[in-house]
Symmetry: C2
Subunit: 336 residues, 2 copies
């Protein structure tokens, strides 16, 4: 009945209840030291009985490992961030690592505030995430005393960075369209200053050669509609496929083609980029699109930061993770 009422059980309670010293209790629970088998058994049983759970703060203080990491993102409404957080969390929960999520709202003051708070909390590492591949972290990330991993964001030279493989993803889409016999493929995409847009466009050009035709614009549905309008009024021969730089653009394209009674996929096949299901599944017809596998990206980033926190090494530089192609009816009337 010692100190049984206030607060949580401590290892002292376990030791008392089992009639051993604190040190023995600790050793038994952690399975280290020279402890008789039956003592171990007894301590563990007692600990279980009284519901002992070690205080992570005390442990962290001593071991200099908090088993927590911070995740800093600039995205507050994000369909991009949350899948990654879920992936990170999923990869780490089994290792007993928890994740502080810090939304910076693109405010550098807030970013600094969060960063300091994370350091005060002795996080073992930090994952920096953004909504643009070429978004750079604030300068104070330059020399941090703990490892940093960049996911879907641009890190400094020689940092550990994970990006979706935009080029491979674009090839997946274009080759798919070509495999269906399409010859004249148009590429409608977002602003040229986005690195992702440029990479995808380059990959597209490499496959389509002379026939390549790229129009840069916005990441919006409206731009998709407008681009179609331009295409129709130009008087040129129509393409037999359109590869869109995002699902939103694709949605605009599909709607505009529908309005003009152009059949999808018979007259023009469409492919998008993002596999943002809530959009891609609801277009008419449903959209063939490239999935960036953001959750898997998050898992990889989580694993990487975990290795780094354990002092293990991770290949530095930018790792590009493969995208996958989700085939729906906008490209094939009857996909197997």
């Amino acid at each position: 009945m010692t100190r049984s009422d206030k607060g949580r059980r401590t290892i002292r309670d376990v030791a008392d209840a089992a009639g051993v010293s604190i040190a023995t209790a600790s050793n038994a629970l952690n399975g280290i030291g020279r402890t008789k088998a039956e003592t171990v058994e007894k301590v563990r049983r007692v600990a279980e009985e009284i519901g002992f759970r070690p205080n992570a703060l005390a442990r962290g203080l001593l071991k200099r490992r908090s088993h927590a990491i911070g995740m800093i993102t600039n995205d507050t409404y994000g369909r991009l961030t949350l899948p990654m957080v879920a992936g990170v969390s999923e990869a780490l929960v089994d290792h007993g690592v928890s994740v502080f999520l810090c939304a910076t709202n693109n405010d550098p003051r807030l970013a600094r505030l969060h960063l300091e708070s994370l350091l005060d909390r002795q996080v073992d590492g930090i994952i920096f995430t953004a909504t643009r591949l070429d978004m750079r972290p604030p300068p104070e990330f330059a020399k941090l005393p703990i490892p940093v991993v960049y996911a879907f964001a641009e890190g400094p030279e020689e940092s550990v960075t994970f990006h979706p493989d935009d080029a491979q993803g674009a090839r997946l889409a274009v080759e798919h369209l070509q495999g269906l016999g399409r010859q004249r493929i148009l590429h409608i995409t977002g602003p040229e200053e986005y690195r992702a847009a440029r990479i995808r466009a380059d990959a597209y050009r490499a496959l389509t050669g002379d026939g390549a035709s790229v129009v840069f614009g916005e990441w919006t549905e409206e731009w998709g509609r407008e681009a179609v309008a331009q295409m129709l009024s130009s008087g040129h021969a129509l393409p037999d496929a359109i590869f869109c730089g995002s699902d939103e653009i694709a949605r605009g394209v599909i709607d505009a083609l529908r309005d003009n009674a152009i059949s999808i996929p018979d007259d023009i096949a469409i492919a998008g980029f993002d596999n943002w299901e809530i959009v891609a599944k609801q277009t008419r017809p449903p959209l063939t699109t490239v999935d960036m596998e953001l959750k898997a990206l998050g898992r990889r980033a989580g694993l990487a930061i975990h290795r780094l926190c354990n002092g293990e090494s991770v290949e530095p530089g930018t790792t590009r993770l493969p995208c996958s192609l989700i085939v729906r009816k906008s490209s094939q009337s009857d996909p197997r």
Copy 2:
């Protein structure tokens, strides 16, 4: 030069550098105890100089306050969760409170795992969030030793809970349509087993009286299109306005009406629910819709948990926070 090289500065370093005891240093930094003004000044200057920042683990261990909270959500792709997290985080960052985000993926095992981990980390409180208002937390939430706040989720009797005011939001939309002179308003919404759908429908019925007509279905665009098809084939007189239970449904409705050359808003005015901007701004015409103010909801939940963690009291029960109406062209040809 004492222990100047390894790891972070500790309060001991500050004390040494300022030529005072640890106790005095602590007192000076925290502004308590009887300390001479110039001593305070000196200690603070020195601390600043050597870049001292207190170790949150040590402090938390002693004060039994981690100044961290946990947020548990079942939503991984969440347009609902992230705005709330952002709101919570925004409300708490100035109080020095950080947020552990735990995504449970609807897996009770994972939920339990996360919960235990949070308790081990001595979080001061927990916010439970879900993607359905009537989603109940796992049973182990019943008697937790720390305060819990429910946001966009159903808590046990007498718990502190925040919901959007669905009824008021629905009234906002319906009254807006009525204010425009619309008499025959139809309500197309999601599944009847969702509490939110029922509440919104009831509020709608209360305002439309005999003319009320509700069709329950799915939360999808496709259902919106199908509902319009049913409406058209029924042979009844067309409504002059449709209040949709979600923006996705509204989008389907708008597309289907367009396909049938029914003019929006002249023939039929449309209002949605969610203000999911990426959808609502891109419909043709852009969608008038109800905003649930999720970020504000998050802020309120954050503030509430903070008060509770400080031992202050918070009105128990369900607090319904007002929604706002965003007027766009789907209801008014020319909104002022």
